[in-house]
Amino acid sequence: MAGFPFKGETTPTIFERSDTGRRGTRMTRTDVETRPMDELIPARHLRSRPARLPEVPENEVIRHYTELSLKNHHVDRALYPLGSCTMKYNPKVNEATCRLGGFAGLHPFTPQASAQGALRLMHELAEMLKEIAGMDEVTLQPAAGAQGEMTGVLLMRAYHDSRGEGETRRRVLFPDSAHGTNPATAAMAGFDAEEIPSDAAGRVDLEALRENLDETVAGLMLTNPNTLGVFESDIVEVSKLVHEVGGLMYMDGANLNALMGVTRPGDMGYDIVHFNLHKTFSTPHGGGGPGSGPVGVKAHLAPFLPVPKVVRRDDGSYGLDWDRPESFGKLHGFYGNFGVMVRAYTYMRMLGNTGIRETAEAAVLNNAYLTELLSEAFDLPYGRGMHESVFSGVSLKKRTEIKTMDVAKRLLDYGFHAPTVYFPLNVPEALMTEPTETETKQELERYAEAMHAIAREAETDPELVSTAPHTTPVRRLDEGRAARQLDLKWSFPEDAEA
């Protein structure tokens, strides 16, 4: 399915479709006796000039955003192999259940008696996540993976503080392959973020780890499988070493899709793990959110979890417990991204115990197969990963001067999204490829054929590749100019004249 409609056509902004006095959807008008606005609110508080929202009829609004939508690549179009993002199929039934009136219409301050279904769903979702991760408690509050990480790091802080070691344990370690949110989160929580090197196989270098471990370490943040897709096979030893110096083990759960139902973070020695419901549990990525980043912990960290906690009371009812004196605080305005939880719960109930394991196995199978199909054309410096493999375009670049970025752009012409590129940082010209379990054998083959074709084009017609994409709504965009000449909102013509 190569090519997009609207190739080369610019869509005017919604503001350019606006015309004075036009109306979209009619809203309810009040039926009480009204008073002039300035009798209700003193004139000095009243807005003098209305916000210049667009004035567009409903059907034109629909056409505008429909046209915009057609310029997006998306999972329902073709393979979306963004490594570490787990762009699996989003089951449509999830979109129906999260919109049930009893869920979508629920005000967060509704009395607990009128929210029993929601609270029970949250409690049972947490129970399933506990079992999958081998953890003792779960909070569903974090709104995304990055907020889950922050929860994890604040848990480290609260735990060490409670033991009188908050002042001395200043360092959070992570491998050089780590996602950028790991060091950014550690810094946001006031820790010194320190990188440790990987060994030749792409795993934590045990010697380097030992050298870095002492009583100043708060914890180690370690994705598993790591961002190279490689399982940290020394994980039990790593956990033991970190625990021996009193540190905590944190697992970034970005890659849990490879492992669920097969092995559990809790059994590997992790104390904290965050989940990404929008990756592993099929909730849609929404063009960049909403996500949901629950966090599971072992019992010794449970008292510090954020408030409120969903609890099942002795009488069988469900409630929110705010009275948790050792809690580190709160991250979300309410209880987390509930609508995302409903989707994930629906998915997990359908998969059930066996489906969850089979999903992980199929994700690993699909990646192994795709890796097999691609490994002739692209380097694989750290070998085949579990659910994802990180290829490198170094040889191709040496041979043809075609860079990974060019390959990525050319893939768009073939109707696919590109893999994650130039990440992880320890792989030059990286192409981090994650097919997920929901792709057919035939779709993987189609993608592999496109990659081979591009590798051939790099030899025979390099300019075709280096100037790609050719079939997309726009060609390569000038990112430098975007940052230098900032244009972050529509300029109304009257402002330009003024």
């Binding site: 919604i14 606006s18 979209g24 959807t25 009040t30 009204t34 209700l40 916000a51 929202l53 004035e55 567009v56 629909i62 955003y65 915009l68 057609l70 997006n72 999972v75 963004l82 762009m87 039934v93 259940t97 999260c98 869920f103 219409g105 005000h107 967060p108 509704t110 009128s114 029993q116 999958i132 604040l154 950014a184 810094a187 946001m188 006031g190 139902g261 097969v262 092995t263 990525h285 929404g286 960049g288 959110g289 996500g291 991250l331 309410f334 991204n337 509930f338 609508g339 998969l351 394991r357 089979e358 690993v364 192994a368 097999e372 994650t420 054998k441 100037t467 709504p473 060609r475 244009d487």
Partner: protein, 444 residues
């Protein structure tokens, strides 16, 4: 059921090509001692219908009530066209626009969103959104510290208690603590108290507009004393009211944040919603989160990209302005479509109807014994607080029986230091008859 597409033949062929006989051989790197023994202890698979039935049963355990609760989340009508657009899988099954050539739909919609946020708040620049209002407030505090290189953060007592708690949590790690500035008897921030608390080590002051208890703060004098001390004024707003009230950008705010739920998003038990974040131009390079900018392609056509990424974690790592990695893309899209559908007049009508309904309720409650406005002389927009002689939780329980969510109990929030009572909120959806029922309920 599961979503694995392979036939037995496919699977066999794939395994043969890989050169293994069983998929479990691909797990050889996992030490035997940590392999799970047997199945997970969670329920067996369900068919789609069985799952739908179970979910519908759970949803039915929640009661739908006529909603007079606000406190950050408001019961506005969301036009059907909003959900139609956000259910287009071109939008909801896409991800962060890492390849802008095939994400122009998402990028342009965010650019339009940023424009609308600037228009409503009166600010120069806005980002692509945050998780929610409270985390946007917290990020604003963190950003203010970085901008001013100062450490103390002040907040009005009438800041949303949840925003206060979230901000406090975000500041914890940085060695800061939120300090509270009290209000006067009129419910408004006491300028004298604020002046006393300010100093050359204060990074910012967080206030809410209208404040948590509904009172419309006088932002100009607050901005004046805050700026005189070299600090930034951060204003958390109810964005619906900005179609009636003067925007904080005209009143001296440096950063404006909001809970954007009322624009296009269902309450959904508090999430997912969308945080709005806007600032003055000179602060743009210190803003957290994704920002979309317009540029041109190689053929000089207009197009959109994520810009100023050197602020962000994927490049700056531990020196990033924030660890935030996504925005609330689909929720921001819902807000954009909602605001486009309502437009200039429609949004104003929604805000004015909400204000009219609130003031009608206020007038009716004047005659109700045992119910007293907390701040009888102070201007309010669409939300106000009353003290109640009857225990507010008892009133809510009676309301529950009558199918009414009679506001939010003030006794939930010890940190406000106000008497027991209710915070009542009004939207365009509330009819006169429903408001009369609320008044009857409060009258006992």
């Amino acid at each position: 059921m599961s979503f694995i597409p392979h036939s037995e033949t496919d699977r066999r062929e794939m395994l043969a090509r890989i050169g293994v006989s069983d998929v479990r051989e691909l797990y050889d790197d996992v030490p035997e001692e940590i392999l799970l023994d047997g199945d997970l202890d969670i329920p067996a698979p369900l068919s789609e219908w069985e799952a739908v039935r179970e979910l519908a049963e759970l949803a039915d355990l929640n009661r739908s009530l006529v909603c007079f609760a606000g406190a950050g989340q408001y019961d506005h009508h969301v036009p059907a066209a909003v959900d139609h657009i956000i259910r287009r899988s071109e939008f909801y099954t896409a991800y962060t626009p890492y390849q802008p050539e095939v994400a122009q739909g998402t990028l342009q919609a965010i650019y339009e969103f940023q424009t609308m946020v600037c228009e409503l708040t009166g600010m120069d620049v806005a980002n692509a959104s945050m998780y929610d209002g409270p985390s946007a407030a917290a990020e604003a505090a963190v950003m203010s510290r970085a901008v001013t290189r100062r450490s103390r953060v002040l907040a009005a007592r009438t800041l949303h208690p949840h925003a206060r708690k979230v901000t406090d949590t975000y500041l914890q790690g940085l060695g800061g603590e939120l300090e509270i500035v009290d209000s006067g008897p009129d419910g408004l921030v006491d300028t004298g108290a604020l002046n006393g608390a300010l100093g050359d080590d204060v990074a910012c002051v967080l206030v809410q507009y209208p404040n948590f208890l509904g009172c419309i703060e006088d932002l100009e004098p607050l901005a004046e004393v805050t700026h005189a001390a070299g600090a930034l004024l951060v204003v958390l707003v109810d964005p619906v009211t900005l179609s009636v009230l003067r925007p904080p950008g005209e009143l001296g705010a440096d950063i404006v944040v909001a809970e954007g739920q009322p624009f296009g998003n269902a309450p959904s038990f508090g999430g997912p919603v969308v945080g709005l974040f806007a600032a003055r131009q000179k602060l743009v390079r210190k803003m957290p989160g994704r920002i979309v900018g317009a540029t041109v392609d190689t053929e000089d056509r207009r197009g959109y990209v994520l810009t100023l990424q050197t602020r962000e974690q994927q490049i700056r790592r531990e020196k990033a302005t924030s660890n935030i990695c996504t925005n609330q893309g689909l929720n921001a899209l819902a807000a954009t479509v909602h605001l486009s559908l309502l437009g200039r007049e429609g949004m104003q009508e929604v805000a004015e109807s909400s204000v009219q309904n609130a003031h009608y309720a206020w007038r009716r409650l004047e005659d109700v014994p045992g119910v007293t406005p907390l701040y009888p002389e102070t201007p309010f927009a669409r939300e106000f607080a009353v003290a109640t002689e009857e225990n507010s939780r008892a009133i809510l329980e009676r309301g529950f029986d009558a199918g009414i969510l009679a506001g939010v109990s003030l006794s939930r929030f010890e940190s406000l230091e106000v008497p027991d009572g209710l915070l009542l909120a009004f939207t365009e959806k509330r009819s006169r008859a429903e408001i009369d029922r609320l008044v009857d309920l409060l009258a006992g």
